[in-house]
């Protein structure tokens, strides 16, 4: 028995997210003059691409029933090592930058997978440990020296300026940043893997019931290696995007606000912490909400000292709303729900 289309739409989490985005945009458009311009929107997307890519990574890990909080350390490690290597060996190629960063990312990711699968260490604890392992190692063995704008290899700064669909406006030339293109490619690739391959079905299956997945024939260990390797892969990409965006490489700048925002984006997007559920659409919408918030609170007149608080409030309220809805629907279905910590 199929439910009617409008009713099905209302039941979907993504609908509410879209509504929130529309609402927020209306508020912003009214409150400020600069919001609805092409320039601003394109700039917002450009700045948020990094977050978007990391969110896809976190999303995949979460669906598989695990969690990976080491990705900020992986991203900064890939980035900094690539930059330092390029400076040390006089390489000036964006491909080298990506290559090195991605290689490190995948290596770190596979190590995470090794710890989690071989020693059955809970992914939360394992990645908490490797976060400090990777970041500590980076600062200790590679160095803490910042690389500022003047010394960043030009291939990277050039890359940051690339854009497609260029057009002219009064403010100057505008285009869709290469960062957004990369983000789009990441979305497409992740979507394909999760929706169109058995590997993706396996990830969802493991998130639903790992034991059952094994019995059904899925190669659970291999799939887990892929998941965490993929997180490392995307983190490596994001590392270069990030340095290309801010044109500054500071290894201590661990982007740990990134951790909170990524988790917020993915959870707001409707992915369950318990695994097995979640959509890319939801995650992307969640990312959009977060990046809109991040950039525009100042426009709404909120002093910069309070932005963290505001974002915190939004996240907390959003998370409460999501889980309260889930709880109520379970009670309605007659399930016996008890208060618990996890």
């Amino acid at each position: 028995m199929k439910t009617s289309f409008p009713k099905a739409l209302l039941a979907r989490h993504e609908t509410y997210l879209a509504l929130i985005i529309i609402l927020f945009s209306i508020v912003l458009a009214n409150a400020t003059t600069g919001f609805l311009t092409a320039g601003n929107l394109l700039s917002v997307m450009r700045g948020g691409a990094g977050l978007g890519i990391l969110s896809l990574a976190f999303f995949v890990a979460l669906v598989s029933g695990g969690i990976d909080i080491s990705f900020p350390a992986i991203a900064i490690s890939g980035q900094y090592i690539a930059i330092r290597a390029m400076l040390a060996f006089g390489i000036n190629s964006i491909w080298a930058a990506f290559g090195i960063s991605i290689a490190i990312g995948i290596a770190y990711g596979l190590f995470n997978a090794f710890l989690i699968t071989k020693f059955k260490i809970p992914s939360m604890i394992a990645t908490l440990a490797t976060f400090n392992l990777y970041h500590g190692a980076l600062l200790e063995f590679v160095g803490t020296e910042a690389v500022n704008v003047g010394r960043i290899p030009t291939s990277i700064t050039e890359f940051g300026r690339m854009a497609i669909f260029r057009f002219e406006t009064e403010q100057g030339p505008l285009g869709l940043s290469i960062f957004v293109v990369v983000w789009g490619a990441a979305i497409a690739a992740t979507w394909f893997i999760m929706r169109r391959t058995m590997l993706g079905r396996g990830i969802y299956a493991i998130g639903g019931d790992a034991e059952g997945a094994k019995r059904a024939g899925f190669r659970v260990t291999r799939i887990r290696y892929f998941v965490y390797g993929y997180v490392g892969f995307l983190s490596g990409i994001m590392g270069i995007i990030h340095v290309s965006l801010i044109r500054f490489a500071q290894p201590n700048n661990i982007v740990d606000t990134a951790l909170l925002r990524v988790i917020a984006a993915v959870i707001l997007g409707g992915t369950a912490i318990t695994g097995g559920r979640g959509t890319i659409t939801g995650t992307t919408l969640g990312v959009i909400i977060i990046i809109l918030l991040d950039r525009h609170l100042i426009m709404l007149g909120i002093p910069s000292a309070w932005t963290e608080f505001f974002i915190g409030i939004v996240i907390v309220v959003g998370v409460i709303a999501t889980h309260l809805r889930m709880k109520i629907s379970r009670v309605r279905r007659g399930e016996l729900v008890v208060d618990r910590a996890h």
């Binding site: 028995m1 199929k2 058995m198 299956a205 639903g208 034991e211 059904a216 097995g276």
Partner: protein, 507 residues
Amino acid sequence: MVQALLEVRNIRKAYAGVQALDDVSLTVAPGEVHCLVGENGSGKSTLIKTVGGAVQADSGEIIINGTSFGSSISVIQSIRHGIQIIYQDLSLFPNLTVAENISLSQMIEQGEKLTNWKRIREVALRSLAQIEEHIDVDLPLDRCSMAQRQIVAISRALTQGAKLIIMDEPTSAITAEDVRRLFKAVRRLNEQGVAMLFVSHKLNEVFEIADSVTVLRDGKKVGDYQASELNQDKLTFLMSGQNLEYKPFQFDPEKEGAPLLLETRRLRKVNQFHDIDLKIHAGEVVGLTGLVGSGRTELALSLFGLNPPEGGDIVIDGSLVRIKGPEDAKRHGISYLPEDRHGQGLFGHQTIADNVVATVIDSLRGTTGLIDARRRDRIWQEWIDKLKIKTPSGHNLVSSLSGGNQQRVVLAKWLAVEPRVFIIDGPTIGVDVVSKARIHDVIQELARTGMGILVISDEVTEIMQVCSRALVMRKGRIVAEFTDLQSVQESEISQVVAGIDGSEVVA
């Protein structure tokens, strides 16, 4: 003679000094429905796991369609030769759709790398059609009822070319209608030559569906029988090795002048139960029976505060009370022994001692506000002795106990509260025959001390053995009351339970 589909010969399997299977042999012919029955601990789970490859036997022979595998077979071999086991938990993915659940195993086996959604749906629909079933294949599994999930599990087994489907306790958690639906599917399969091996301890279903029955007891085979040559009593005798003594419990509250402890008046909750007028007097054992879905557990949980009613009154000792949570129930002297012993009744990895005092911990405070350790230790030791819980030490984990002993721990926990009304839901599920009888004795003894007991069970036999009177629930209402259990036939009550006594329930 038709070649046997499955033949196991002289299987032996021991675990840490316990002989789980002792020289067991079994034969299943194509297209037959074979039931494997036995009490808990009889070895039936071990046997099917051996056949399915999840467990390796110590010795014996497994022959499938004439091919011998020696004493052990791997899971993959077993599946490739057409054996599919559906465990009680069904091993499905609640977060995936029906179509995915049915088709994924086949996709994996065929080495598919990309998902072809069209094919996934086609395979699922075709499999469902084989047993003439209709389920919306795009539904996420967690929206499906238990019965639908069983159909999904069977369909999945079919996609892998099952010739023998083994189902472990398939009828434990589904309603009567669902059982009929399941059996219909089974008969379709039989017509196509697929054999079924049911593992069950529910005797009624055995008779309705089985062609042949194999009885196990204590790891040994008692015998193979045609279903037609057995009846309830005979089967019970074979399973338990003893003629169970009926110790009927007679108690007339009016005659004894027993006080009314608990009364409900027109208690109701939408879609669960209506018009419940229930009376429990001190000293009686009231039985409440009905099928899954009749509302009996919902009603019990309501009295315990976990499922507050929407209308009607609960009266205790003559005054109206509101029970909003188990704390309130406890305060009013109501204890509840849950159906799901493991999940709801026990703290698995904690000690027996901690489990027993969990309900009374608040009242163990001494003058300093700290727990009086001596009193605490005395309480659990007392209960271990009183209920004869077999354990070397109260500090052992509760998970180290047998099913019967675990049930005694849960019993102890709720007796420690010194309740006046004790609601016992499914007292002997998963308990061996000897412990079962002991638990029944305990229940009757408790009643004699002046407690009012409500026993909920779906085994009419048990109700008749333990209770002084019985109530039957169907579709949320109490449809019958039997006050003189001596003079009533078990089949009479069973018929009312199943709703084939001619009386219709006005919903």
